[in-house]
């Protein structure tokens, strides 16, 4: 009974769901790598693999565990991943865990900054638009949002970099990347342009969702009740209308996190930010299969965890969900 009660709790169910998703992600990443032509031996030795004698090859297969059934290989791999062994770069010899420990926080910082930019721009523009629907102000807001939706990050990023570097002579990203703790001032400057580019892309869908959510919330009875109490416009907009529109805005923001991780790959490349996106790209360029495999896994896990966090946030934002 108690167990059933616990399992029935939405929070527990959500956690189990996340666990299943993670397991699925692990399988997918594993299978994807087996499906790619060539194996670890070819990947490691390159064309030299062709020169291996069958005996040498068999020895290597035993060494890498490739002679084991796939299921056993999967369990072995999963076991090592779970104990923190994500493999190592063949080229530099650095472990992927160590590389990720450096790059993931950078991407997360970029993501948080972009979210801030996206929310401030998106919700701000939506509030301006919604305050006078169908006015010139609304039209301008929507036009900018449309631009944000249609201009790809690589274009906007390159353009921004070109303008800043060439005409303003400002390019903090040309310098060696500074981690946040080492040199916050330089770090934030280096994060500025990438966060603006990613944030602008985020702002567009947030703006559209927020605008319609705000317009709808405005007409609800409880907003009229607040007006009936004599609540002044600013307080009304923030405490009642925006508060009421927060759930759809949050949902949209959560959905955009995937875009954010994808966009990070591009933007980190343009602005030489050594984040996790760049780690994947370099891995691919240098045919470092272990690096790519583990990094993709890390990104997927991050994505699942962020979705979980978004769901948990609902409980903070909506007291009705909190109650269940």
């Amino acid at each position: 009974m108690i167990l059933r009660g616990t399992l029935g709790h939405p929070l527990v169910r959500r956690l189990l769901e996340a666990l299943f998703t993670l397991a699925g992600v692990a399988v997918l990443v594993f299978v994807m790598l087996r499906a790619i032509p060539g194996d670890q031996i070819t990947a490691t030795l390159g064309t030299e693999a062709a020169a291996l004698t069958p005996a040498q090859r068999a020895a290597l297969e035993t060494y890498y565990g490739l002679d084991q059934p796939l299921v056993v290989q999967f369990w072995t791999w999963l076991g090592s991943v779970l104990t923190g062994n994500l493999g190592a770069s063949e080229r530099s010899g650095r472990s992927v865990l160590e590389m990720t420990a450096n790059s993931l926080p950078i991407t997360l910082e970029l993501a948080v900054l972009s979210l801030v930019v996206g929310l401030v721009l998106g919700v701000g523009a939506a509030m301006l638009s919604a305050s006078r629907p169908d006015s010139a102000r609304d039209a301008a807001g929507q036009a900018v949002a449309l631009a944000g939706l249609s201009v790809p990050a690589f274009l906007l990023g390159s353009a921004l970099l070109a303008v800043a570097a060439r005409f303003l002579g400002y390019n903090p990203n040309a310098e060696q990347f500074a981690p946040l703790v080492a040199d916050p001032a330089l770090n934030l400057q280096q994060m500025l342009m990438p966060a603006l580019v990613l944030g602008f892309g985020l702002a567009a869908p947030i703006m559209r969702t927020a605008r319609s959510a705000l317009l709808e919330t405005r007409t609800l009875d409880f907003v009229r009740t607040a007006r009936g109490k004599g609540v002044p416009p600013r307080r009304l907009q923030v405490r009642h209308v925006l508060r009421g529109a927060l759930v759809p805005i949050l949902t949209m923001t959560g959905l955009q996190f995937g875009y954010l991780l994808g966009g990070a790959v591009v933007v980190e490349q343009i602005f030489s930010v050594p984040g996790i996106g760049r780690q994947v790209l370099i891995g691919i360029q240098q045919k470092e299969y272990a690096v790519v495999q583990s990094t993709v896994l890390v990104i997927a896990v991050t994505f699942v965890l962020v979705n979980l966090a978004t769901d948990l946030l609902y409980r903070v934002v909506d007291p009705r969900v909190r109650a269940t």
């Binding site: 009875d221 004599g230 307080r235 007291p319 009705r320 109650a323």
Partner: protein, 322 residues
């Protein structure tokens, strides 16, 4: 006591600006200080729209298209929004039809009551204390704990008590109760009606009771205003209205009231339905359903003094056919 608190003259509400459709067609209504008046009419007769117009709370596309709302000497219909805002909640307050939707689901109920005080300049400490007092007064148990609840944790009746606490927080001179009990269970209805009536007497505010059920307000009000299709068709002291209705619509409404055993006379139902705002009825709006209609009714009847009240009908009761 005799000076009117509220004088509504020729108040009209229309929907849309380009091709406006008039919904309320020039209402007259007067309330003296401390007076209780019932506004009665079928669903769609324009009761809520009129009340929201008094509060200047109409949402797009509705707007006041003509008329005056004189409240303590000021014309609310012409007041600038910031001035109107300072009256809302402080001088005029409203209890709404549906307590399930009229509270902010994201805000603690206590905060919603406190907010009514804060926005009118009461300081935080006083507001919090007054909120606890109000919760106790409107019969919400354990205020110290329940102020922290969210609306969904409350039943409809309890939510309506919160709305009432909110409306009465600053002891307004005029309270508008727009069918505060229609969404509630019958037993709860009586409690809520009793509560508002009690508080009304205690605070001595003028009160408008809106209802579609004459029986509900008969005991609570001194005067009844009957609305039909966006018009006031009769306005009379309650005893007079029940004893000798001056308008055929009022007469039909009374006939459809349940008898003391609680049954409704099935034949007394008024056949047909009220006109929609978009349907133009030539002359008297009640004509298509009126058992007394005759040729003269093709002209709109004015609201004229009749016995102790006023009625808008060409045919006086002594000329009515049975």
């Amino acid at each position: 006591m005799n000076s009117p608190v509220l004088e509504v003259h020729d108040l009209a509400v229309a929907a849309g600006r380009k091709h406006p459709v008039e919904i309320v067609h020039g209402i007259d209504l007067t309330l003296r200080a401390g007076e209780t008046v019932g506004v009665v009419g079928e669903s769609g007769s324009g009761k809520s729209v009129t009340m929201l117009a008094l509060m200047r709370l109409l949402g797009e596309p509705l707007h006041i298209s003509r008329g005056h709302v004189r409240f303590r000497g000021q014309d609310l219909a012409a007041l600038r929004e910031p001035e109107m805002r300072s009256l809302r909640g402080r001088e005029i307050a409203m209890v709404y039809q549906d307590p399930m939707t009229s509270l902010n689901p994201f805000m603690r109920v206590g905060d919603q009551v406190t907010e009514a005080l804060l926005v009118h300049g009461v300081d935080e400490g006083k507001a919090t204390a007054r909120c606890l007092e109000l919760f106790a007064r409107v019969g919400i148990p354990d205020p110290a704990r329940t102020v922290r609840a969210y609306p969904h944790e409350f039943s409809g009746g309890m939510r309506q008590r919160v709305v009432i606490a909110m409306a009465l927080a600053l002891r307004p001179a005029l309270l508008i109760a727009d069918e505060p009990t229609t969404a509630l269970d019958v037993t709860i209805q009586q409690q809520i009606l009793g509560l508002v009536a009690e508080l009304q007497q205690e605070m001595g505010m003028a009160t408008i009771w809106v209802t579609h059920d004459l029986g509900v307000v008969a005991r609570l009000v001194e005067r009844v205003v009957v609305m039909y299709g966006g018009h006031v068709v009769e306005d009379a002291p309650v005893a007079q209205l029940f004893a000798a209705p001056q308008h055929p619509y009022t007469e039909r409404l009374l006939a459809s009231l349940p008898n003391p055993t609680g049954e409704r006379a099935p034949l007394a139902q008024i056949p047909g339905r009220p006109p929609l705002p978009s349907e133009h009825v030539e002359g008297c709006a009640f004509r298509p359903r009126c058992p007394q209609a005759r040729d003269v009714c093709a002209m709109p009847p004015p609201l004229v003094d009749r016995a102790a009240g006023r009625a808008a009908c060409w045919v006086p009761p002594h000329e009515w056919s049975a």
